[in-house]
Amino acid sequence: MKYKMLLGMSKEPGISEEQRTFLRDCLAKERFIRICRWLFFLSFLALWEIGARVGFLNPFIFSSPGRILKSAVSMASDGTLFYHLGITLFETFFSFFIVMAFGILAAVLLWWKESLARILEPYLIVLNSLPKTALAPIFIVWLGNNMKTIIVAAVSVAVFGTIITLYTDFISVEEDKIKLIRTLGGTRKDILFKVILPSNIPSIISIMKVNIGLSLVGVIIGEFLAAKAGLGYLIIYGSQVFKLDWVMMSIVILCIAAAGLYQLLSIAERKTER
């Protein structure tokens, strides 16, 4: 992104020679960093592969890039890979939407009724700092060994922080902006829809970026404990039957999925800025 931008700028006509030299220097530095990143990645892969082949790393425990690729190809060709990935992504998006919808709604409600916010404040804080993995076994007992548990677990990871952050952002909107709406004859509803919500769009988007990651974390935790499918299930199952290739492959795919989800929201963010 930055590289392309610099490249474009340095080729633009009508800039001074000095500026062009400056841009070329920036470009060279950017190129160096990119090359180093790839070198780091490739040498990591190479060391791993060679280590496994030479016997310096036990491939049975550590797997290897080649074996990961092979199992990925075979699971992709019979469709199981997409099935597990699809389940995990579905659960992640589903929990993400519940977290956002419920979080915004609850924050609005707390903003609307300040005394309610004051009453619930200590509980929200405790629930937010509680490690949500501690709750997972309860969810299994209550909801059963199924997708419901996974989604509830994932929602519980992100929702309390979302409510607290959004509520804090809502009440820190400038007092005078609220006064402005009142001078124009507006009600509390107008204050909410004309000032509070629109002025917090950037903060809602940055919370979304955090939450898509947290939802994935929650879903994987849920799948560890209560699943018959999904990448989390594949990881647990693979480790139980000593198929470390599956485990490693799932982790690699999780990395790619996490990066993809983050990228998706960054694109959405750029769209709203325009």
């Binding site: 005078d176 006064k179 402005l180 124009l184 004309k194 769009i201």
Partner: protein, 256 residues
Amino acid sequence: MGDLLSLNHVSYSYHSLTGETPALTDISFGVPDGEFLAIVGPSGCGKSTLLSLIAGLLPPSSGNIQIKGKNLSDQDLHIGYMLQKDHLLDWRTTYRNLALGLEIQKKDTPENLAKIDELLKAYGLAAFRDAKPSSLSGGMRQRAALIRTLVLNPDLLLLDEPFSALDYQTRITVSDDIWQIIRKEKKTAILITHDISEAVSMSDRVIVLSKRPGTIRAIIEIQLSPGNRSPIKARSDPKFKDYFNQIWKELTDHEI
């Protein structure tokens, strides 16, 4: 008693956990229909508080405020309040900012919206119609805030230092414009200002407030010769200087 607006022994105190801040004590005055009233006073004496009370945003601690003899809450007069800062919302375009009041009051009819475009042109903002307020200069923002208030067609205008962000030259032209509009449409207006010349040149009467807690120090009728009634001409009226000095004296006399 035929006043449009009357304040009777109005006092107001702010309360917080750290204590009570008396902002205004025993303010009484009336404003006849069509009058242009200016209020001057030292910083922090309660001028903005006074406007918030008149606009009904704050309830007086004691005393009462009436419009046409009725309590503030029972009347249907449109009060336009222009705050000290412009508070244009930066996620809306200039045009959408100006339509905010109409939207809220559900008066965004085509005729009213067309009036925004008219005013944008009249105030030299037409080119910035669809720009975000962040690209407007301080003076433009102030004019935009004024348009936002004027499109609601208020009967009583409350102006809280509306020209303070403008440079001197713009300030005089804009205040002249606004004065013409207010006069032409026979509106009643209350202007708060720090600028004594502005108060004398624009208003029919000037109320001088004391330091906090604000009380009325003096009420001065401004009577310039009828030919010199526009703000720019008023400044060359022979009596202008006398009024200026009189208000200056009222403001500074009690400070020691």
